[in-house]
Amino acid sequence: MGVDLRNISCLFGRTPAVRDISLRVSNGEFLALVGPSGAGKTTLLRIIAGLEPNYTGQLSIGARDVTRVPARERNIGFVFQNYALFRHMTVAENVAFGLRVRPRKRRPARAAIAARVSELLELVQVGPLAQRYPTQLSGGQRQRVALARALATEPELLLLDEPFGALDPLVRKEIRTWLRRLHERLGLTSILVTHDQSEALEVADRIAVLRDGSLEQVDTPDALEDRPSSLFVHQFLGETVGFDASAGTDGAILSLNGPWNGTPARFPEPATAPGPGPGRRHLSLRPWEIGLEPTDAQGAARVTGMGRAGPFLRYAVRAPDGSHAVEVLRPSSLPPLPEDGGCALDLRLARVFAQPGADDTGA
């Protein structure tokens, strides 16, 4: 079921943890909340769950306003960061819990509960482990049991708080593609919190980037990568290389500033600039988006070192005065550049932002 957040704010003491967030998640969508630690993503998830009752704003799930509805009546499946399985119960008892605690009138018969439990355990592929205790399971198995338990009460909204955090990388990859398929198969609406952008990019339909409690941008993974609304978003989603530059009256970039001043370079078309008019700009690129063209021109950048990086060659490229260097990745299929040779920079793929912070030039 869809979720509609309107002007949600939440204070922790006097510090705002979530500032005025409005966000709509449509039915069947898989949304990822990402951001650095302390950005408020877990708080936002807990507000949706009802576990953080002190918030202002309005919250609807489906057509129902749940702003003042307590957590236990929201019918939301929640998968906790460390799974929070009940240690004194077997796997089957854990999964059955949500059905067993229902008031008598809505409680399914014993046999029906047992059938539902084994169906769920088959669904998450841990059927043979029904009689084990949580301490006897591996991380991946606990993760699956936690998911089965959350799904037992047939929630239409599934919330996941860093669900892959405690898993080793191989299991992680496997379980997230599996989770994505499960989401589609069951027609769920899911919201996932993660600090790992690659996880979000792989699994989610849309990604909401949070910073200091505010929503920075919500968009599809492609749009976030191609048209980040701020330098922060671009930097958060992956490694970046930055250059300061100046723009002319028509908004076109004229030259690089600082140590790269005078280096021959190609710039993006004015259309991608944040606004017309002259002023300071910041160009931000992924390390593999920078083109290097050998040249003997005056003030050219110098290649000072290289190494292998998977399918790329990694070049250290130094500013003409030697004070500043960036790392550039170039497909190893291209002819290698000579060591200590001069080169021009092709920055046509850069995202252009206005007025960067003074120290935002870093790689």
Binding site: A49, L51, A71, R72, E73, N75, I76, G77, F78, F80, N82, A84, L85, F86, R87, H88, M89, F97, G98, V101, R102, Y133, T135, Q136, R149, A150, A152, T153
Partner: protein, 277 residues
Amino acid sequence: MSVSPPLRRSPMALGLTLLAWLAAVLFLLLPLASLGTEALRKGLGGVLRALADDDALAAIRLSALVVAVCVPVNTVCGLFAAYALTKYDFPFRGLLLVLIELPLSVSPVVAGLVWVLLFGAHGWFGPWLAAHNIAVVFALPGILLATLFVTFPFVARTVMPVMESQGRAPEEAATMLGAGFGSVFLRVTLPEIRWALLSGVLLCAARALGEFGAVSVVSGHIPGQTETVPLHIETLYNGYDTVGAFSLAAVLALCSGAMVASRTLMDWLRGRRSVAR
């Protein structure tokens, strides 16, 4: 389950072990043995006669009553105090933590004295109580209050670390699954802490049974009426009735020993079970 490396045997370890055993024999076993031999100096008949004495029986009954009242009350109170302190955050939480530990650090004599100051004949509420013909000090209520005060921390203190280590996650998980407060407490919180709770209850019982100082101040030492077992032992000893004193002392020591033993047995059983899992 984490696997710790096997314990090593070395001359150093052997020496330390011997030292520990020596201390145990010298300071624990030897006094206990003397307790037994002193009690049995006039044969088993002497012990039985000492225990069948009216005042001794009254003291045993009173001690049993004190345990029967204080242990359940402090179990419930301690449980809720621990729950509130570990699962919720509220103003002056730190202060409440200190207050709970206060009885452990305050001398039992002081713990008894405060009740006399409050409810004694010249205490704050003394005149009012006297006017309404209610006896607190030098009567059963005083003894119960003093023992409750002294034994309050045990359940809370043993249960809190376990609750703390689990955080609020199990409760929150149960809430998200639709369980109300009662269900969460009975089906999730309580089972997860049951071993620590049992251990705390036994500790509390052992202390309630053995408490001397605080009770001594408020009881008034009326033989057959306000003397618990430890107080009666002192009275007998001061009256040069060594056989009587040591017989009762031996009974007390046996009770405490049984409680400690059952706690150890419980831990051992639990350890075996979790390995078997």
